[in-house]
Symmetry: C2
Subunit: 475 residues, 2 copies
Amino acid sequence: MSRSIHFADRGQRARTAASEPDVLDALRATVGAENVLVDAQKVEPYAADALKEKFPPEAVVLPGSAREVSEVVRLANERRFPVTARGGGVGYTGGAVPVEGGIVIGTDRMNRITEINADNLYAVTEPGVTTYALQQAVEAQGLFYPPDPASYKNSFIGGNIAENAGGIRSAKYGVTKHYVLGLEVVLPTGEIVETGGRTSKNVVGFDLTGLMCGSEGMLGIITEATLRLLPLPEATRTVRATFRTMSAACACPPAFTRARVTPVAIEVLDHSSIRAVEAEFAFGIDPEAGALLLVSVDGHPEEVERTSRVVEEVMRELGGYDILRSETREDEDRLWDVRRALSPAIKKYGTLKFNEDVVVPRSRVPELIERVEEIGRRHETFVVNFGHLGDGNIHVNFMCDRDDATAVRRARAAVRDTFAASVELGGTISGEHGIGYVKAPYLGMALDAATLETMRRIKRALDPRGILNPGKMFV
Amino acid sequence: MSRSIHFADRGQRARTAASEPDVLDALRATVGAENVLVDAQKVEPYAADALKEKFPPEAVVLPGSAREVSEVVRLANERRFPVTARGGGVGYTGGAVPVEGGIVIGTDRMNRITEINADNLYAVTEPGVTTYALQQAVEAQGLFYPPDPASYKNSFIGGNIAENAGGIRSAKYGVTKHYVLGLEVVLPTGEIVETGGRTSKNVVGFDLTGLMCGSEGMLGIITEATLRLLPLPEATRTVRATFRTMSAACACPPAFTRARVTPVAIEVLDHSSIRAVEAEFAFGIDPEAGALLLVSVDGHPEEVERTSRVVEEVMRELGGYDILRSETREDEDRLWDVRRALSPAIKKYGTLKFNEDVVVPRSRVPELIERVEEIGRRHETFVVNFGHLGDGNIHVNFMCDRDDATAVRRARAAVRDTFAASVELGGTISGEHGIGYVKAPYLGMALDAATLETMRRIKRALDPRGILNPGKMFV
C-alpha cells in the first residue's frame, strides 16, 4: 500500500472476514470463480481512483446481475465485512476506494444498455456502461443525455449517479440527478428495491431515487438505472474571448441572463491557467489576460446563429477581446482545445495535484479567486483556477511535489483555507466530486451538527451494520 | 366531522395531548395567543383540502418563524401529539389534513419573499408565499420559476415542495424538485437543519433536499426554500388541434421529439372531455373528435414562430384538423379557455369527483384511456380524461353523486381498477398529487414490500415518535 496523502498514516489495515476461505468460496459460488479476484496483481487496478492512493481490497467481486450483487451483499452483512462498489474508478474523492478493506464490487460486467425508448424519452442501462457509450448510443437515435463529467470517456453511469456527477453542460442542463427517473438498487441489507419508474412525474412515496443520487455508494448499490433523455440539439456554437480581469469575465453570465440566453456551458480559465497553457502549447492567447471564457450555445441552427451573436456582443460590451466564434464543428473543437490542454499544461508544476471543486454563487467567483490566490501565496503553493463559471463551480488546483512532505502539508493547508473561503462566500466544499474519504475531514465546515446527524440517522436506518463503503463522508 | 368518502368510517377520533390546557398555554406562549386558534369556526378552514373531507384539528397554530415552528414541534414531540403542516390547503390527497387530530401548523404568516437574486438565478422564500406571487415577483425582474400546478393561484411554495408539485409546463421544465436548491427544515424532533444551498451544484453529504421534496410533510416542515430560476422566455405560442382518435393525437409527442422540438406543454382532452365542454360552453369544437391537443412552445420570438409552425405541421401530418395557432397573447389565452372550462363543465355529472392523476409512459396513454373507459362502463360511472400528455400524466375524473353510497362505492372500485391498469401499463398511481391518506390504501399496488419498508425505516429514523403527519402514505 502506498503512502496516503490524505490520511494520516493508517499503517496496515486489519484483514476482515472477506479474507476467510469459506467467504471466498461462497463468493465464488455466487458469481463464478473467474469473477472473484484475490491475486495482488489482479486486485491492484481496483485499489485506487484518479487520486492514485492505493488501498487494495481483499478481493474484487465482479457480479453479472442484481441478484448476484444482492447475494454478495447479504453475505457481507451476515459476516460483517466492508463492501465498496466501483464504477469506472475515475473519482477524485475516493468514493470507490476500499479504505477499510473488505471487497470491491466491480460493475464492469454489468455493461449493457437494455433499452433506448425514443417515444418515451428514456434509456434503461446497467451501471457499468460508460457515460460516453450511453451518449453515443442515444445520439445515434437523435436523442441526448446531457450530463457530461470531464471523465465521461471512462466514468460509469453507476458512478455518475452515486456521485451525482456534474460537468460542462450543467449551466443549462443541470446535473445527473435531474436525469434519473428510476433505479434498481441493492440495499446494504441485501434487498433489491425499485425506486421511481419510467415516467418523469412520479410522487409515490418518498423520493428514494433522489436520496440514492449522490449517496456515494453508502446507501445502496445501483444495479440498473432509467434515465431521462431529451431530443438531441441540432447545432452548437462556441464563442471564446479573453478579458483583462476576472471581474470583467464574471460580469458576463448575468448579462446573458438579461439577454434571455442560457448557454449550455460557461467555462472560465484564470490568469495562471492561461499562462500555463500558453507556456506549454502557445495557442496565441494574450498571456496578460486576466481570464478567458468559453461559452457554448445549442439548439436549432438559426437559433444558435442568433444566440451565439448575442453572446459575442455581450462579451464585447463587457470588455472581451480576441473574440472567436465557431462557424463549424471543427472550429468549435479547436476553441475547446485550450480547455483540454489545461491538465497536461499544469503537470510540470507538481507531481501531486490537489484538484478541489468548490462552488459559490457565481457572482462571488472573482472574490473566491482573489482569496484562493492569496491563500496560494501564503502557503507558497502554485495554484491554477478554472472551471464551470455558469454555476460557480471552480476547480482549484494546488500543485506540489508528492515526495516533499512539507510542500504537501502546505498544499493541504491551502485546501482547508479554500474550503473555508468557499463556505464564507455562501458556497460549499464540493460541486461535483463528492466527499468520499478525501473531504470527509472537512464535512463539518459545510454542514452543521444537526444536518450531519440527520444523514447519519439515515445511514444507520438503511445500513445498520455499516458494511457499505465505510470510512467515507462521516469521520 | 363530515362523513369521509375515502376512509371507512372512523367514528370520533380520540383527543390528543394537543387539547390539554397546559399545551395550549405553551403554544400561545410560543407564537402569541392570537396565533393559536381553537374555536370550531376558526379552525374549520384548516380542516380539509380540495377534497372537502373535514378533519378539524384540535388547534391551529400560526408560527411566524422557523424558531417558533421548531419550538412547537419540540413540544409536540415531548407530549406526543400529531402535527400536520399546511400550505394553501389545495391538495387532492389530504397531505395537509389532520386525520389523526392534533394541531395544524399553518404557514400563512410566513409569506415573505426574502431575496430575488438575478445574478445568481435564485430566490429565497418563506413557505407561505403562493406559487403565483412568486411567479409574479420573479417575472417582474425578467426571471422565471417554471413549476405551475393548476392550483398555482392558491397553492403555497411550501406545499408545492412537500408534494413535489408538477403542472402544465413540466413537459419541458420538469417538476418542483428540479428547482429546489436548498431548504431550511424543522425536523420531527425539532432541530432546524439547512439542506443544500444557493448553488445549483452541491454534492456535500446525502441529498436531504431531494428527500424532503415530495415527502408530504412527514419528514420535516419546510420553513424556507431557495429556488432555482431561469431567464424568462420572451414569447410563447400555442397551437390547438382536434384529432379523430386518441391514438392519432398521441402520435404527436414522439413526432415533436423527432423534429427536435420540446414543447413547454402538451395537454390533451379526450372525447368525453370535449363533449362536456362543448355541451356547456359551445366553443365550436367538433363534438365527434376523439381528442384535442393544446401545445405550447416558448423562447425567442423568432424561435417560437419557427417551432410553433413545426408543431402545426406535425399535427396536420398526423391527422390534426381545425388547427388554430396563436398570433398574440390574447389568441393564446382564448385557445386555453377550453382547458380552463373543463372543471366547471364536468360539475353537472356528479357532486363528487374522484380526480386521480395516474401516470404512464406517454406512448401508453391511448391504452390507458381505452381501459379507463372500459372501467367506467363496467362500474357504471361517468369518466372524463384530460391532462399532461407530454409526460403521460393523465387526470382521470370519475363523477358520482356524493350522497349515493352505491355510486360512491362503484366510483371507488373504478379508481382502484384504474390504478391497477396504470401500474400494468408501466406507470404508477400518482404523477403530481401524492399519496396522503387518500391513496395510502393503494400504495402497495405501486411499491413492493422492500421499497415500502425502506421508506418506513427512513420515517422512523427521522420521526421516532411518529408525530409528523400521521395517517398518511403508510397504512
